[in-house]
């Protein structure tokens, strides 16, 4: 393992891989720092650039975007009080008050160093656990895969805060997309409604790009006021700080760092939840375990450390899930999964044993990306503040053009672009009707695999009880039921709390 990792690190230091990694990381830091541009959007923009590259070059660039984006989001969170991305919201709670109290450099670098340490702690788990987990997954038959995918979908749908029914319906809509076009077992055409673009099924990348890009950009467009001046920022901030002192502050709080990184990892491993939940949960935990919880929100270091360590460790968790099981941990790894597929690489438990150079190259890219982020921010954190003032009127049309290029380049065909446009409208409509996007995307990604494994299982042995009586499959389905029951319980509790509040208000 260590020999392969060493080889991966050496390979990654070659200019051929290092250059895409550095460029990807730089783009990630900028994309993460830009309010209104998420990491998913940034990686979607980078995707078409990777088509002409070798698989490891492309993946290195994407991993760079992912790691850079998670760290970059804290810049505007701390200095402007505007989170660059959802996973930096909790960083703002204490980072911005600390900056306002005259310590912007301390707030910023506490976040940056906590990101680096959280990410590197995640790297240890990533390298150590992915191989054994993939070996464990090799024991899986179609029954276990079916149950695993059902568990993933039910967990994501159940974690949606607004409405359980909507979360599940959103996942169901994702599954419906996968039943249009050729069936994945025999390739027989079905439910195409005479639309030739659907004959081969709906490719998931244009769907993902369309849904996420338009949902986000149109959400911003509806709030834009033409002619309104955009905020000029970044001038006159003193960001100089003693790095030794900042690192010392972090190491003086080892429990916060370790516990937040652990939370980030676990949430990263769970499919499609992502850093936005990780940073809030880690912040909440840091507050609960603190001796002075009442000071949280006024600029305490623990709040920044917990939030930033968790969202970078979350990246490692997402990579574990995609590399060991072939299930994307979030939308960013879903795009990576698409990039792997484009290069003809099958993700899943055999990924590491069949592509050891690629897998250990990805580990190496993840580790080195943290050093690259640090170097980029040491040199250019002040410039980042200027870059993030790029007007959205310039940014959005360029991003949509790159989305079109990405969709078109998937098969040099306009049908992918039409699918992109159609799902752009669909995604915006979903957001307006209050449907969460994460279960939908997971449904689109897992739909074919759920069907293939269901049919395989029934064709191997028509006894449906095997889904319950095979131990791993039974456990996974039980987990799915528990997750579903917990979600119902939580929603009921929230409803009762809301009703109690209404009752209080009446009196």
């Amino acid at each position: 393992m260590f020999e392969l990792l060493g080889q991966g690190m050496l390979a990654m230091m070659a200019a051929k891989y290092l250059v895409p990694l550095v460029i990807g990381t730089l783009i990630g830091v900028v994309g993460g720092a830009l309010p209104g541009i998420t990491i998913t959007m940034t990686i979607i923009v980078v995707l078409p650039f990777t088509f002409g590259l070798e698989p490891l070059q492309g993946l290195a660039a994407m991993i760079g975007v992912y790691v850079g984006g998670e760290t970059g989001g804290l810049i505007t969170s701390c200095l402007l009080g505007i989170p660059g991305k959802p996973s930096a919201v909790a960083t703002m709670f204490d980072g911005h008050p600390m900056a306002k109290k005259g310590e912007p450099g301390r707030a910023l670098w506490l976040g940056i160093w906590a990101s680096i340490f959280g990410g590197l702690l995640g790297a240890i788990v990533l390298v150590a656990s992915t191989g054994p987990l993939a070996k464990f997954a090799l024991e899986f038959g179609p029954w276990e895969y079916f149950s695993l995918f059902v568990l993933a979908l039910s967990m994501v749908a159940g974690l949606v805060e607004s409405s359980l029914a909507k979360g599940l319906a959103s996942g169901g809509l994702g599954l419906i997309i996968t039943i249009l076009g050729a069936d994945p077992v025999m390739g027989k055409e079905r439910l195409t409604m005479g639309i030739s673009a659907l004959d081969g099924g709906v490719p998931f990348l244009p769907v993902l790009i369309g849904v996420f890009a338009f949902a986000q950009i149109m959400g911003e467009v509806e709030r834009m006021r033409p002619g309104a001046a955009e905020e000029k920022i970044g001038a006159g901030l003193r960001l100089a700080v003693s790095h030794a002192r900042v690192i010392g502050e972090i190491f003086a709080r080892p429990f916060t760092l370790l516990w937040a990184s652990f939370i980030g990892l676990v949430i990263g491993v769970l499919p499609a939840i992502g850093g936005s939940a990780a940073n809030m949960l880690a912040y909440d935990q840091a507050k609960k375990f603190s001796r002075y919880p009442e000071k949280f929100g006024t600029g305490v270091p623990e709040g920044i450390i917990a939030s930033e360590a968790s969202n970078n460790a979350n990246v490692a968790g997402s990579l574990v899930t995609i590399m060991a099981f072939g299930i994307p941990g979030d939308a960013v790894t879903a795009v990576m999964l698409g990039a792997l597929t484009i290069h003809g690489i099958q993700s899943g438990p055999l990924f590491i044993s069949q592509n050891p150079q690629l897998a250990y190259g990805m580990f190496a890219a993840y580790i080195i990306a943290h050093a690259v982020v640090l170097a980029i921010l040491l040199v250019g954190v002040r410039w980042m503040l200027r870059i993030v003032t790029v007007p959205k009127a310039v940014l959005f049309p360029v991003v949509l053009v790159l989305c079109v290029v990405g969709a078109y380049a998937l098969g040099n065909s306009m049908s992918s672009v039409w699918i992109l446009a159609a799902f752009g409208v669909f995604g915006y409509g979903m957001v307006k009707l209050g449907f969460p996007l994460a279960p939908f995307i997971l449904g689109v990604i897992l739909g074919d695999q759920i069907e293939v494994n269901l049919i395989r299982a029934v064709m191997t042995d028509p006894d449906p009880w095997l889904f319950l009586t095979r131990p791993i499959s039974g456990l996974l389905l039980a987990g799915s039921v528990v997750s579903f029951a917990a979600a119902i319980w939580q929603h009921r509790r929230q409803q009762r709390a809301a009703q109690a509040q209404d009752g209080d208000a009446d009196f």
């Binding site: 650039f49 409405s163 909507k166 069936d183 310039v394 307006k432 449907f435 029934v458």
Partner: protein
């Protein structure tokens, strides 16, 4: 009883699922696969239809407390419709005008809509952004990354 967006969403999911569910009965069975290509879609559509009904029922049965309308940000849906229309025109024009011309026109139009140009300098900004985006994207993808961009049927360009 007035429906909220949950109820309308439920109706949409139920309707969509029901229509497709009906269509699954016209999928011919495959003798090689005993379950047939319509088996799994029927499960998915039945479940999603039921979820649509759950959403609708939940909305109809929900106890609503009349709350004073909170002043939210003004949302400009016309801008969204206009941007979708411009993007639709762009996608429609790509096979006819080719990547470079249609991208130039789209970026200029979208930028001008989001930030209306004032005076000659504003228009110069719009044109430069359009030219740079179309030119750079074409150069990077077509020349360096071997991604062949669409050529125009009308322009051959």
């Amino acid at each position: 009883m007035k429906l909220t967006r949950d109820g309308w969403g439920g109706i949409a999911v139920f309707g969509f699922s029901t229509v497709l569910f009906g269509m699954t009965f016209s999928i011919p069975d495959n003798p090689l696969v005993p379950l047939g290509p319509g088996f799994y879609p029927r499960i998915v559509l039945a479940l999603s239809g039921a979820l649509g009904l759950w959403m609708l029922a939940g909305d109809l049965l929900a106890k609503r407390v009349a709350a004073p309308a909170a002043p939210g940000p003004h949302l400009n849906y016309w801008a969204v419709v206009a941007h979708f229309a411009v993007f639709g025109l762009y996608v429609g024009a790509l096979p006819y005008l080719g990547f470079r011309l249609s991208t130039f026109a789209y970026v200029c139009a979208a930028n001008a809509m989001m930030d209306p140009p004032r005076g000659a300098r504003g228009w110069a900004r719009v044109l430069v952004l359009g030219l740079l985006t179309a030119g750079l994207a074409w150069f990077v993808f077509e020349k360096n990354l071997s991604v062949l961009m669409p050529r125009g049927r009308w322009t051959g360009f």
